[in-house]
Symmetry: C2
DNA sequence: CGAATGCTTGAGCTTCATCAACTTCAGTGG
DNA sequence: CCACTGAAGTTGATGAAGCTCAAGCATTCG
């Protein structure tokens, strides 16, 4: 039907997406929405690593929520150039087509074996009527994705290659760390190729490789065959030029139940993401042999 | 409080945002949501051209909907680099903070004199209860914005400077044309500087200038002191490499009331945006003096 | 008319892409 | 266990696309 490329991939089996249903440690919309869609979804669909969940131009079936696995949302240009729009982790909404006839405006490729739940169009209305708050929560969830997209825009549009790559690594690190707080992180699994990183950052795979080499030489981070090691978190954050507010939004700081209007730290005070997410151990681990 | 730059601008008075309240000619969520927010909003806030509606890190007041005027949503990096995330037209939702304590993760600058309606947090719940469909419509609206952001990502990440600039011009042309169908378009007003275009496309103002020069020499389009002339629409679309599906999503093809499941044209058939939006007159107007 | 903002152009330079060859790694089947 | 195969990573040489700096011009607005 369409001539989309579909690079099949073999993925190692120890990826970090095993235990999804432990309670989320942070307040967000995801819990509510995902629990609800759980009840209304028609079937779980299983997709093998490397296959597409859906493609551009296909008719959307309703609301897609990712239950388990890693997924890349992407766009293809006519000549084959590819842009990865987002790396989706479990409990995220992959797509939302509220009505019949809507077409997918981007594709979705499974990076690992994945499970997806789908709530069909016809059930969305009912779901919405039964649970009045649902729509707003969904809006919040999608709004969060939009925020992520905006951050990527800033990164790709205005940052250097080195900044972009470190930014992406750090983002993925923080987001996965939030999903699976128990995991050890000295060496974590990211089911991506360097080419994928390039497609996400607007660079070529070759150049990503060079950037990664420099990061390794500077003892900041290593990425090699789908394995990420963060050697110097502080420097990583520094190079990435992360705005702590942004990082908080990845974690899901929607603060649904904070009704207090007590003055919070002002704009200039920086919530220390590093401390929140990175165990001291790692900071100590290597004292950095810098030039 | 924060050291954001705030370039004041003088804007000519003949910008195209005068008659907002004529009925929308296309089916979308905007109509429903905006009519509702109209009833619940606390006050209209008026902002002069060049001023910020809100800034990064400020506490959000609830749901912001743009009633009249042009607004640029933007991000700033530490060193002053700026990325424009979206140009918002009337009837769009600028921001949506569902709960207290949420911070704006991007800024919004008025490009013209603007009017904004705000529905405070406390009224959002009530609005939602009174109008059950509202949440979903809002979700659809935000989802549409996310789609726009994804398109910009593809553009900035994978296209050449020439493609990016033409893409942006065409997008803005189509979106404004959809809002104000009656306007003549041979020469339309875009309240942007070349620097703004650069900040939106991830280029420098200087380079945007060079690209615009080439487009002028190739008799494709002219942009000069906030005035856009499209000389050769067909070529413009060609250079921009626009996917017609994408263009349709700008127009708002959510197809809310199309319940028919009759087979629609397949993916490969290209809905002709050019025909839908561009009057033949323009195509004829210049036969193109090409090299 | 004057000031301020925005546009235009050139020269030199940096960053990143392209091409191509080579190496390493992971999975497969003997 | 090894050899084999295909995918992914690595490196160098070369060039193009776009940035920076700097100076001068045009347009708008008061």
């Amino acid at each position: 039907m369409s001539n989309l490329t579909n690079r099949e991939r073999k993925i190692p089996s120890d990826h970090a997406s095993g235990s999804v249903y432990r309670g989320t440690p942070y307040t967000d919309h995801a819990a509510g929405v995902l629990t609800l869609t759980d009840r209304y979804k028609s079937v779980d669909r299983q997709i093998k690593a490397g296959c597409d969940l859906f493609r551009v131009g296909e008719r959307g079936e309703g609301l897609y929520s990712l239950i388990d696995g890693w997924v890349a949302l992407y766009n293809l240009l006519d000549d084959g150039r590819r842009q990865i729009l987002q790396f989706a982790l479990p409990k995220s909404v992959l797509a939302f087509l509220p009505a019949h006839g809507g077409m997918m405006s981007y594709g979705a490729q499974a990076l690992t074996d994945t499970v997806v739940g789908i709530v069909p169009h016809e059930d969305l209305g009912q779901l919405c009527r039964d649970n009045p708050g649902m729509g707003m929560q969904l809006a919040g969830l999608i709004s969060q994705d939009r925020g992520l997209a905006y951050d990527h825009l800033s990164s790709i549009g205005r940052r250097s290659a080195r900044e972009r790559v470190t930014y992406l690594l750090l983002e993925l690190f923080i987001r996965t760390r939030m999903r699976w707080p128990g995991h050890r992180i000295e060496e974590m699994h990211l089911p991506l190729t360097q080419e994928d990183i390039g497609d996400a950052t607007g660079l070529t795979g070759v150049h990503v490789n060079r950037v990664l080499r420099d990061l390794r030489q500077d003892r900041i981070a290593e990425f090699h065959y789908r394995r990420l090691r963060i050697l110097n978190p502080d420097k990583l954050i520094d190079v990435a030029g992360i705005d702590p507010h942004v990082a908080l939004s990845w974690i899901g700081n929607n603060a649904c139940d904070k009704e207090s209007s007590q003055p919070q730290p002002s704009v200039t005070s920086t919530p220390n993401i590093c401390c929140a997410v990175m165990p001291r151990a790692i900071s100590r681990q290597r004292e950095a042999h810098l030039p």
